[in-house]
Symmetry: D2
Subunit: 340 residues, 4 copies
């Protein structure tokens, strides 16, 4: 039984983590923290947990170092790097859900975010996308858990990138449910500001663009153009990627490549020809569904769907933990997508 | 391992049943039927099940008698009674989710619905509300699984009814998500006919009124007045009951009665004073949350919340099966409420 | 042409007022204020107004006294009373959308809200529900515009109250869209905290209860019990009132009373027997739709629907202004309910 | 005063037309038809119209020829062409909201839809997009009112197309509210099948692709790739177009071109640099809002938003009628976007 701590447990990723870990047979949640709600039971904040898990919220503090085998950091960037510094000792596993340890290139991080104050840890960190980096993850104790948009975009592109089969521009049109904006009280996240509306935002300047680009650049010199949109719903990301194949292949042939690439992956489902994902069918689960179509002229559209809070955040974090601890990767992640 | 069949597996209650039973360690889904989709895989109809459960849908037919240990009937009333006749043999457990076996009084059933064509089975049937009838359920092989509104209303009223503490009129103001109307293509269930709107319907003439009344009448001669409303959301029922206590008690005293009555019940959560249920906090789970307040003049409001497809239908059906088979009542029903 | 000022124009009631007044042939919006957004164009805050109305937002200040013929105060209570003091001169019309001038009984106001700091104005103020107080409104220059819940509840009850036809308890079960909570950034109004959920709140302690009670008490010694609920939608209030008639009448007879009472009212639509309101069919309009049913035993349910931001706030405010200025009451209020 | 008939008045486009025309000072709705609801009052089907407009629905029939000055056809394709044949006489204005008269090339129509049975009328028909074809529309009596997606996509592309400034592939990623699917009872339009989900559909095979392509082809040999998505909301289309400029220009320069092109257009609003449209801010209005951004490498994204039922259907139809009748183009179309 592994002792697990969730630092910052009262945001949406925190509560989804708790929910997932409660179904995990090999871990025990022995620490949950929240500076906002310290001293309260988590079930007072999230009454869904009444009678299920009524752990007390402690303040987020350095003194928690050494207590747990695994720490999940559900904190804003900046705050996460300092907490990681306090908790990292090479033995405990740290899975950071912020952006602080996602960038190998500290310059790129600092250009996109803020000055990095835990640079000495960066060499230890691995970008936690299991389908691409499982082997590296296995040997790491510090995971930069990928962003939600990057997870959906990179999983959609990876088989073609890996084989260097794309040519020219890549356009990434992503649409996210509102929970991606977190639980902070902001006017833009109010029900009446979101419901019955749809818009693009941060066009060409979203912080997830460099995170996607850095992965794309490992295989290709293609420049991506990333446009995120806000959906009037709680959960789910659908990413529609437009590009062009270097040589003409059929939809069937490209799907075969995707099925081969993701063969054995417990959480990627490649759909058959003519089928496309719907966020409803991955909701509350760790699945990433992918469908695609190739046109006669070599253009291709790839569509991927995830639950932004699960495969796009907390579920992937648990998957990373399982890999590092040598556990079955699906433990704590067997939730079947729920609909309606 | 018990063999389980789901007759009519492609409505919302059918798919929720499948989802619940897949997490049940002691059962095997060995039969799923659908006349509409026979010959197809259930995962083609509900892509959420891709890679999870891809069983083939068979036609609904008599020949399935004797195949399973447990049958769940997710059929319209009328059709359910005939299927029950074909399948009932005193050995297999039949849990009928329609109204056909909910009424001890066949006259009341026939006044509310249609002529009953399986009257010989009625003496075997038990109204499957575990919190009230667990002992009877244990010994039965034919369960009339309660309606969604009745489940929420009766659980809200039961402790006071049992103690005969109510006096005078009872008003039951219920609000249900759209999934209560089923998956049939009806104009009234279209997104654009429901979204951004709220209304009462079937005022004083809803078929669940007699179902609630018959239970109330076992303890009291109070007449209920039931007004259902349609909520612009997928899942959940909130029922607000208004009544009057025979003698003045405090909110605390009445809550104590509720906590005593439901002590040990795995799926009823009585909230503390000042707290009231939200359907969000029972969503996707088998919980019924109850809160209440007593006024200085003896009036009382009791508020209960369930997921209409789980405790209001498929979850309760699994709970009934567990009771009859002598299993832990929570097996297959440990889903934690999911939010957002 | 009357000069009109909107003090606090960037909340939801402010923007709906602007929208309504722009269609009014006899008024000119010559002042809009906002302390939060002063110096900006209203069309920068609400891009719906681009190219339609691009007025500059001024700070809310005393210096605006004497500038306009009519002032609408869309401010929090407390702040409204002080602004009214600064602007009131007996000539300009002041319609206050806060609670500050709704209570004839200052003690009741202070018990419900805060100490009143403009008591000297209270004798001038009229509760601005035109269907009940049109004559008083005509002669007033200071209107306490009714709350949204009270408007729906009182219009639903008024014909029976006036005739003293009710006996015993009155239960008022109201359900409101989220815009009723205003545009302030609060966790409880976030999309993810509201969508796909439904709950009661402020059970028996909502500030609109005394506002309704004071009107009921003018005709009856009945005690109301008011339970508001939060709907996962933007706009609309549906109020379901439960009571008992002193003597047995038919639904038809009571509907006849309602049709007589509201005969000639431009904004009340009494529905025929068997029909009940839906908030969708009054959305964006100043209508109040009312339907009702009487049971055999004398119990009655009355259901009323309004758009909380129109008849429940800004539309009613314009109606009050029209009455005072001697204009056709429907000017600026001819919006047809829009659906879907 | 012009006599206007609405053939097929009980779908969503029909009801929006009625609503718009009721605010038009120069027309009288003298005929509304519906085969489904004939003999009923339209206010019985759409209670929003109670007390506002209670016209009787007549059957859709040939006998209505000659009765009206203007006919709006809100019928399925195929049915519309035959009705047009029955009503067309060169004098009455016919605005057909179906696809039947949108294609100059009958072969393309027949490839996309069905055999055309009113070919003799095609030479009279004009594609009713006022911003492109106002002069032709003026002289026509038969309008093929554009599809909703094409309206949003073509208005977004037109200034660049006209100046032949685009090079290479064009990707059109469109997202529509559910009302685009009409009021027919289909499983796919049910609340529970749409709410809390998002998907692409008809990828690369939607019938609006050839309609957009034929307009693009008038200026360019670019091939478009059109991917429509279904939004969990009632109204609105947001179209995100990706392309590449032939020569590098700044965002400001391209916006200047757009502002020049649409100068004087009453219903196109070109947003300033850094601003992008939101469907909420055009909802219920005839506006098309457009924003765009050019990247350093010449790539461009253009984002346009309309209300699919207004500028995308009924509003544009009224605009076309106004042009033909020589009326102010904004009559009946002055609805301010409503939010929340």
């Amino acid at each position: 039984m592994w002792d697990v701590g969730i630092i910052g447990a009262t945001g949406y990723t925190g509560t989804v983590l708790v929910s997932s870990l409660l179904t995990h047979p090999d871990v025990k949640i022995s620490l949950i923290t929240s500076n906002t709600y310290k001293g309260k039971k988590i079930s007072d904040i999230f009454p869904a947990f009444r009678g299920v898990f009524e752990g007390m919220l402690e303040p987020t503090a350095e003194k928690h170092a050494g207590k747990c085998d695994v720490y999940f950091l559900c904190l804003p960037h900046g705050s996460a790097m300092e907490t990681a510094q306090a908790l990292y000792n090479g033995k405990a596993v740290i899975v950071d859900l912020s952006a602080d340890f996602r960038f190998e290139d500290v310059g790129l991080y600092e250009k996109t975010y803020i000055p990095h104050r835990a640079k000495e840890l960066l060499p230890q960190a691995v970008f936690g996308l299991p389908e691409l980096y499982r082997n590296k993850i296995k040997d790491s104790h510090l995971i930069g858990n990928p962003g939600c948009y990057p997870t959906s975009a990179i999983l959609g592109l990876y088989p073609l990138l890996k084989e260097q089969m794309l040519s020219g521009d890549i356009f990434i049109d992503s649409k996210s449910g509102v929970s991606g904006a977190g639980r902070e009280a902001k006017t833009g996240s109010l029900f009446c500001e979101v419901s019955e509306g749809f818009k693009a935002y941060n066009v060409g300047v979203h912080r997830h663009e460099p995170e996607i680009q850095k992965e794309v650049s490992k295989y290709s010199d293609a420049k991506i153009f990333f446009v995120p949109h806000l959906l009037p719903m709680n959960r789910g990301i659908l990413t529609t990627v437009y590009g062009r194949l270097k040589e003409q292949l059929s939809t069937k042939e490209v799907l075969a490549l995707y099925k081969t690439t993701y063969f054995g992956e417990p959480f990627v489902r490649v759909l058959d020809e003519g089928l496309y994902p719907d966020t409803r069918f991955v909701r509350f689960s760790n699945y990433c569904d992918i469908g695609l179509k190739v046109l006669d002229d070599g253009r291709i559209v790839i569509i991927s769907a995830i639950d932004n809070l699960v495969k796009g955040a907390s579920g992937q974090a648990v998957q990373n933990m399982n890999i590092i601890l040598g556990l079955d990767e699906t433990k704590g992640l067997r939730q079947i997508p729920q609909y309606p």
